[in-house]
Subunit: 210 residues, 2 copies
DNA sequence: TAGATTGTTAATCGATTAACAATC
DNA sequence: TAGATTGTTAATCGATTAACAATC
């Protein structure tokens, strides 16, 4: 909790990635790791990794590297992996269904505990581990839920986002093509699958041999 | 084709986004747009938008803004929206199925034309508009396909990536948690859904009020 | 001790943005 | 002409990386 706004955003985005690979190493029984080895695994420059870690203090030992267990424990606390964050999912279409079935359970501190859809045929259906509720219930059913995954059609995104904000949601993972407007204290991350695919194609054609 | 490597990557990544919103404006019947209006829509600073556009030359008119149709036509060519890029999808699980059903058809120049899976029960099944083939066929069935979407389990990612590279694929959209290694002339974009969700939670907790 | 690898500095690189002259 | 808005410069900001002294 202390480092707060001192951590660069680029660093913060890499933390969950480090955490997962550290977890893998731990499961493989490795007890130490160097920034160089980690670099090969996560494809991030080793200097960047050391830089990232150093924002949290001296986590390693010179000439030795990092103790996997220690580092893992440290990141577990830093990333709040010890407590679970409940997430709501809005829009049980193709993508929403995929997420509900997957549910990020693998090595994760997040859990989808509620799902909503506008289609009455879906309401009451069980998908993955949750039962779909009608979207009209949204405002009333978000007690203790701080984050939401938005997998609705683009045209519905802003209206639903407004409802989510009203209900006290503090973070939205938006898979909608729409760019939504929210108060500054609500965090929105955009994942625009069409844009990702199109920009991949653009890069393929315009940046040959990297 | 000419601007080539002069275009900053950050700019290139925004181009498909601009294109889509321009398309929307066009459908709405708007004939002109200012960088300010576009900024409100795509949530990118208007100076950044003007800067981005200026890499391609003087696309607008001072005191007037941009002609929607002209800009749209320009980006259509720049983003190769006139020709379709065929894409293969590997791994017909939850996420893969969602993509096949969606198929990025909406306003897009990409099309999933083949799908592969290791599960014999899925082979021969029709999902969306394609029939699933066995992954053993992968190497032989990628003629004229330049891009692939990877939605397989993490442990299989590298092996399949190697096969894809062998078969001449030049771009991979990797939804796997694994960081894959490919030659420098192959472009890989990573979308790590767990990491995205976890980093959203981290930001929510550590960067309150933005 | 010799070898290895961190933590940190400083240089570099890349992206954003404020500001405003140019001009439609 | 007056008003609007571009295109571009220059400042700033943020991220990456090479390099190496410190030290385990």
């Amino acid at each position: 909790m202390e480092p707060q706004s001192k951590i660069p955003q680029a660093t913060a985005k890499r933390l969950p990635l480090y955490y997962r690979f550290l977890n893998n190493l731990h499961l493989q029984g490795k007890t130490r790791v160097s920034s160089k080895e980690l670099s090969d695994a996560v494809k991030v420059d080793s200097a960047t990794i050391r830089r990232d870690f150093s924002y949290f203090g001296a986590l390693g030992r010179k000439g030795y590297g990092y103790n996997v267990e220690y580092l893992l424990e440290f990141f577990r606390k830093t990333l709040h992996q010890d407590k679970t964050t409940d997430v709501a999912l809005i829009g049980v279409g193709n993508l929403g269904t995929a997420f509900l079935n997957y549910n990020f359970t693998k090595n994760n501190n997040t859990r989808i505990v509620k799902a909503f859809d506008a289609n009455p045929d879906l309401v009451g259906e069980r998908v993955g581990e949750v039962t779909v509720e009608h979207i009209d219930q949204l405002a009333d059913q978000l007690k203790d839920i701080e984050a939401a995954i938005l997998t609705v059609p683009g045209h519905a995104a802003q209206t639903i986002a407004d409802t989510l904000v009203q209900a006290g949601i503090k973070g939205i993972l938006n898979f909608t093509p729409a760019r939504i407007t929210v108060p500054t204290d609500v965090r929105v991350h955009h994942i625009d699958l069409s844009v990702e695919l199109q920009s991949l194609v653009y890069f393929m054609e315009h940046y040959p041999i990297n």
